[in-house]
């Protein structure tokens, strides 16, 4: 097998990953820079992290972002899972093409269009822009990503398990919670995490739909970036990267452990 992994292939993978990771690594390195000039190294320092925690505006924005992220990701996961079930299980109902269009289109829709159209909706129904409107907007665009992630798991799901449960008299709702849900749970969890990071990350849609008092972290970072690159922003970005990285690592370890447990259970079942 190694023979087929030629030097050309190894080189292209290594170069590709260097391209993907180098900018992020540089950003993290320069957040520990003593000098105020971001790109000139002046010695190691953590002072930008200290000043970050004294920046009240940034702290408020972080709190808003965290709340919007948790609430919208949770609602989006429920709605996205339902949408995924609809797409895989109900192959015939009126308006199915429209439905799948509405699930897939937001994945590629330019954010300026989604943001503008949601804002105009909120204005039309007389909803004041603020925390609620950002959360509703985030639910709408992230639920489609959840739907795609969960759907890919549902497609490969062995339906005979569900049929067996129903044949034994389990009602559909009970079957769902005892059979289907545990199997698709890893996909639901990664769907939640994807929705959360997308919400954490969004600048454009939040800028359109948020109002006074609901400034999110990306909006704050963006307004500071426009004034110039500072090590403080590097520090804020590094913390954000660290939070997401820790989350992803915990999730993948938990996933692996569950997978191992499942294999052990299956082997035990085969032996018994």
């Amino acid at each position: 097998m190694n023979a087929t992994w030629s030097r050309f292939n190894i080189t292209s993978v290594v170069l590709g990953f260097a391209f993907l990771y180098l900018p992020i690594v540089l950003l993290i390195v320069f957040s520990f820079n003593e000098s105020k000039l971001v790109t000139v190294w002046g010695g190691f320092s953590t002072k930008w992290y200290v000043s970050l925690f004294h920046n009240q505006g940034l702290m408020d924005a972080t709190w808003v972002t965290a709340r919007v992220g948790v609430i919208s990701a949770t609602v989006a996961t429920v709605l996205g899972t339902l949408a995924a079930i609809t797409l895989t299980r109900y192959t015939r109902f009126r308006g199915r093409i429209l439905f799948s269009g509405m699930v897939f289109a937001p994945l590629v829709m330019p954010e300026v269009i989604t943001g503008l159209s949601l804002l105009l909706l909120f204005v039309a129904v007389g909803l004041d822009r603020g925390f609620l409107t950002v959360t509703l907007a985030h639910i709408t665009f992230t639920m489609c990503f959840v739907a795609v992630v969960v759907q890919s798991r549902l497609v490969s799901f062995d339906r005979s398990l569900e049929e067996a449960a129903m044949d034994l008299g389990a009602p559909p709702v009970k079957t769902f919670f005892h059979i289907t849900l545990p199997v698709i749970l890893p996909a639901i969890i990664s769907g939640w995490m994807l929705a959360f990071t997308l919400s954490l990350d969004d600048l454009v849609i939040a800028s359109f739909t948020s109002g006074p008092g609901a400034t999110t972290l990306p909006m704050k970072i963006y307004s500071q970036v426009r004034l110039g690159v500072t090590p403080e922003i590097n520090a804020a970005c590094t913390i954000l990267i660290a939070v997401v990285a820790v989350g992803v690592i915990i999730a993948s370890v938990a996933n692996k452990r569950r997978e191992v447990q499942r294999q052990r259970d299956e082997q035990a079942a085969q032996r018994g």
Binding site: L20, I24, L82, F104, L118, V173, V244, V248
Partner: protein
């Protein structure tokens, strides 16, 4: 054994007893599963487009919201017809008369197309190299491609400012090694936008390419080689056509959002660049002209409707194959 026997005997009876109710319950649940996300998307995704279209036909007003309402029923039937007469395509004629908007659309489409091709050229060798890697390290490589996707888009674009600016890291490196004697001006040019789009959207290109290349049967290449086919021609005759679904999916995933991209042209392209996402943003936030920005959005959507439908079909086909 006995409990199993009772279960067997009671189950059909119980089934028959609760059958109508259970069937009604499950029908209700079935309907709910469809209706809740359906209504949500209808209300928060489809209806907003109708509103955008409606407002794109109204005229600007100095008020809050800054447009004169179209189809306001407070004036009764006669008022309604009066308003219908006010509906106009003025905003659209305005867009066609001002060369700025036309140029912004054309520039956006060209920039997105060039960036998509560049992303394909950069992404293909990576995806190919990953697909040919030993099976044991492939999941790790896949994880490494997905990981940057989890870090903020804004942060990844921001990281490039420090690299590309005149006194930035790239120029420092090139000056120190003596490759150049004058700092290169990259930031605030179209080159910077291309770099930004290729960098930010690379995982979207690599993932579909990888999944179609990984499924490929490499004995085909070996057979071609045995029959004396040179590697380059084997690539163009076998590998590339077989990876075409991945190429199409990847290109659409990059092209469509790139056309309406705002953050990259704004932060890396500077004030001179004309891209439609940025034009819409300025029209909305700086000029506060909601009707014109709605008209800009409607035309952008019309330009993208064909690629979006192609994308949706590709998704649906992939889903059918998965089943």
């Amino acid at each position: 054994m006995s409990s199993a026997a009772t279960a067997e005997t009671t189950s059909p009876a119980a089934d028959a007893a609760k059958s109508p109710l259970a069937r009604l319950g499950s029908a209700f649940v079935n309907r709910l599963v469809i209706i809740v996300p359906y209504l949500w998307l209808l209300f928060f995704f489809l209806i907003p487009f109708v509103i955008v279209f409606k407002i794109s036909l109204s005229t600007t007003a100095i008020a809050m919201p800054p447009y004169t309402p179209v189809l306001d029923f407070s004036g009764g039937i006669s008022g309604f017809f009066g308003q219908l007469k006010q509906l106009g395509v003025d905003n659209y004629t305005w867009l066609t008369e001002d060369a700025l908007y036309f140029n912004a659309y054309v520039t956006s489409l060209i920039i997105a197309a060039i960036s998509t091709v560049l992303t394909l050229i950069v992404g293909y060798p990576i995806a190919y190299g990953m697909a040919r890697a030993p099976a044991t390290i492939r999941p790790t490589l896949l994880m490494l491609v997905i990981l940057p996707f989890w870090t903020s888009f804004l942060i990844r674009v921001y990281a490039w400012i420090g690299i590309l600016k005149p006194e930035g890291l790239l120029n420092q490196l090139l000056l120190a090694t003596g490759v150049i004697s004058q700092p290169l001006i990259i930031l605030n040019t179209y080159t910077a936008i291309f770099i930004g789009i290729v960098y930010s959207y690379l995982p979207f290109m690599v993932l579909p390419l990888y999944s179609s290349l990984e499924k490929m049967d490499y004995s085909l290449i070996e057979a071609a080689k045995d029959l004396g086919c040179p590697p380059t021609s084997a690539f163009w005759k076998i590998t590339f056509p077989l990876s075409l679904p991945g190429v199409i999916a990847g290109c659409l995933l990059v092209f469509i959002p790139a056309v309406g991209e705002f953050v990259i042209p704004d932060l890396l392209g500077g004030s001179q660049t004309l891209m439609i996402g940025k034009t819409l943003w300025n029209e909305f936030f700086a000029n506060r002209d909601w009707p014109v920005s709605s008209a800009v959005a409607v035309i952008l959507l019309l330009l993208l409707i064909v690629p979006i439908m192609l994308f949706q079909q590709a998704q649906a086909r992939a889903q059918e194959q998965g089943r």
